[in-house]
């Protein structure tokens, strides 16, 4: 029996250090993702004037929709922060509820973005139209793809939380998701500034 308890405490320790290790690894993953976006921003900066005579940012972008997207995503970052608070208080139902709100906001963001893309494409401004649009769709689309992956992940975590409650492992998972979600928010602020605000100015 004594043996079993020591083994258990040992197990606990090993687990905890393992979970913090995974959070560190996730931070480094985010560094690599920042570099991916950095490279895409650089390409956009080089190519955003290469419209080949077609309409540029100023003519194409409709700001109201973009501002709505921005507010929705910023709010979702806030609600994911509330989810983290619930996590630390150990309230699993609250945690799942805030994650659900975050997911709905994320889905609304994706909906608006897809709508923007569909309208542009219907007007004939496609990824194959010119270098500016290639860079635009790729940069904004990569962010959107990240949000979509985040949504799938969030749903998977909500299921795991409802089954297993708050454990070391689920805590680490929610922590990483929250890091990821805030990171996407930061990237969006750059997209909003560099692509949209500087585009229409």
């Amino acid at each position: 029996m004594a043996h079993a308890t020591t083994e258990h405490s040992h197990a606990h320790e090993a687990h905890e250090s393992h979970e913090s290790l995974k959070v560190l690894g996730f931070w480094i993953f985010i560094v690599t993702d920042i570099l991916i976006f950095g490279t895409l921003f650089a390409c956009y900066a080089v190519l955003h004037t290469h419209t080949n005579g077609g309409p540029g940012a100023k003519e194409l972008f409709e700001m109201p929709g973009v501002i709505a997207e921005t507010f929705i995503l910023l709010t979702s970052s806030f609600t994911s922060g509330l989810a983290m608070l619930a996590l630390h208080k150990g309230k699993v139902k609250q945690l799942i509820a805030w994650l659900a709100v975050t997911a709905v906001l994320g889905a609304a963001f994706i909906g608006l973005e897809l709508h923007e893309f569909v309208v542009l494409v219907e007007e004939g401004h496609k990824i194959s139209s010119n270098a500016f649009l290639s860079a635009f769709y790729t940069l904004v689309g990569t962010h959107g793809l990240h949000v979509m992956i985040g949504l799938v992940w969030m749903i998977a975590l909500m299921i795991q939380l409802s089954r297993r409650g708050i454990t070391e492992v689920t805590t680490r998972k929610v922590t990483n998701l929250s890091l990821y979600w805030h990171f996407l928010d930061v990237i969006w602020i750059f997209v909003f500034t560099v692509v949209y605000l500087m585009g229409v100015m």
Partner: protein
Amino acid sequence: MWENIKEFASTFFVTGDPLIYGADVAIVLTSIAIVFVLTYFKKWTWLWREWITTVDHKKIGIMYLIASLLMLFRGGVDALLMRTQLALPNMKFLQADHYNAVFTTHGTIMILFMAMPLMFALFNLVVPLQLGARDVAYPFLNSLSFWLFLMGAMLFNLSFVIGGSPDAGWLSYPPLSELSHSPGVGQNFYIWGIQISGIGSLATGINFLVTILKMRAPGMKMMKMPLFSWSVLSSSIMIIFAFPILTVTLALLFLDRFLGAHFFTMDLGGNPMLYVNLIWMWGHPEVYIVVIPAFGIFSEVVATFSKKKIFGYKSMVFSMMLISIVSFFTWAHHFFTMGSSANVNVFFAISTMVIGIPTGVKVFNWLFTMFRGRITISQPMLWTLGFIPCFVVGGATGVMLAVAPADYQYHNSYFLIAHFHQVLIGGVVFGYLAGMYYWWPKVFGFKLDDRLGKWAFWMWNIGFYVCFMPQYALGFMGMTRRLYTYGSDTGWDLGWAPLNLVSTVGAFLMGIGFIFQVWQISYSIRKGERDLTGDPWGGRTLEWSIPSPAPMYNFAVEPHVTTDDAWWKVKEDRAKGIKPAPVKLEPIHMPKNSAIPFIMSVFWFIAGFGFVFDWMWMAIPGLVGVAGCMLARSFSYDTDYYIPVDEIERTEAALRGRTV
């Protein structure tokens, strides 16, 4: 119907060349042989349990090693094909387009599918052992990295017999690699083969960075860490900063080819120079990524076989970290002649020359370590000694290339070819082979035969100089790279032919060296000197403190480190009669095997193959499968277990012939 099938088959399979039919037959026969042997000896479950699903870093390292040696063979055959074609004027051995495919795959395979996995093999085989760790930080991810690399490499290699090989050079410059200029599937194989294995490389970089930062044995401060681990740290940092750029670059080229985007096209606003900048922002650090671990290996080998502490440990660390930073500021020296302003060329010329300084510091440190040391010329030391003059000459010609105005003469000439083969073969290949010989007994429990190894070494080393020294001269004589043949007028009147012939002889000497190595390995498996001590060379670092081959948990008891050269200290203490403190075994926490990395990589392969042929019916299920595997992993909580104390005791007793 029959006509449709015939037409499909004639585009799907590569036809029309006896070499390719030979390869087809070889692939089919080898596959049948493997299936037969596995079935006959009932080894399928063994293969699945012990290897395919393993998360043990040592086994993953062995798989990387096998794969990279196979790729060395393939890349080497490519080299011999090229050298045969160029041996004499007007050779009719390879067609022009076939020659293009051969030099493209030679470059890509040697850097990405030979050097990188050989490097990862050594990372995996050595780093946790040197650190006194039981595992890498993320064993599951480690297995995934390996299988992604292997599937990427297989996808790339498949292009030889299915669809057609890429032929736009090893870095696939647009507009040549754009759909308009390369309409076949070859470039798609290039993009997806590298993309899939590149994800694995990036994950390995993260894995080893965290391993080194967080998994070191208690007491091992950063500045007490063995130099090979330092070199891996430096290399991992570069991987983390360079590989995302490659990921994006390949993705954008794919969007150009697949969705008709205009990043790098000549029309509608695209800019091919953007690609060249991006690919070299990854590509230049990449050459330092592969060479820095070799520097780490030399540091270990020189210290061990000189029976001395490494000279200038701190300057070694500092120079490696400096190289990892400066390597990101040299990329534009690859296109000095493409019309940048003088100021830009000057910046990159100076930064390129500056990187020679820390490299020089390291060479002097190795020499000073050897100075007045008790040197044993064993296999690893032999390759290290061969490396030094080779790399010094390669470094010097590198500085010549870094002089921007002079580069207008050398650019795209055989001088450049000779230079980078000198640093890559002399630095990377010799280095990794030194590392392979050095750590071989630790991994497999026996040494590789010395006599055959010496033959291999001299064949490689002499072959190297015979092959590449003439190419420096050929560069000055105006022979450009990517040339598939030359006329008898230039060949004999300008004197290209004799030098090319000599160069070809050198390439075949290196090929003979490789055959000696294959012989050496197969001979030593049966008759090589068995290592029962776990410390056959009189090593200085922790990996030599455990039995060879290491048990799956590496260290029965976590070592406590007080100095650098931790194992040397223990041996000194023992000689003085200081007994180690008694230790108590505890259960060891280990990760469980998993099939998910393999299955996920197979889905990546399916997705990649679908994208190569524009078959969405195949690509989409592939990607869905990848996502499914990720979710399956997310939902699996039962991923680890404990090895009980009595099992550790039994294993240790069997390995050491005594109880701990």
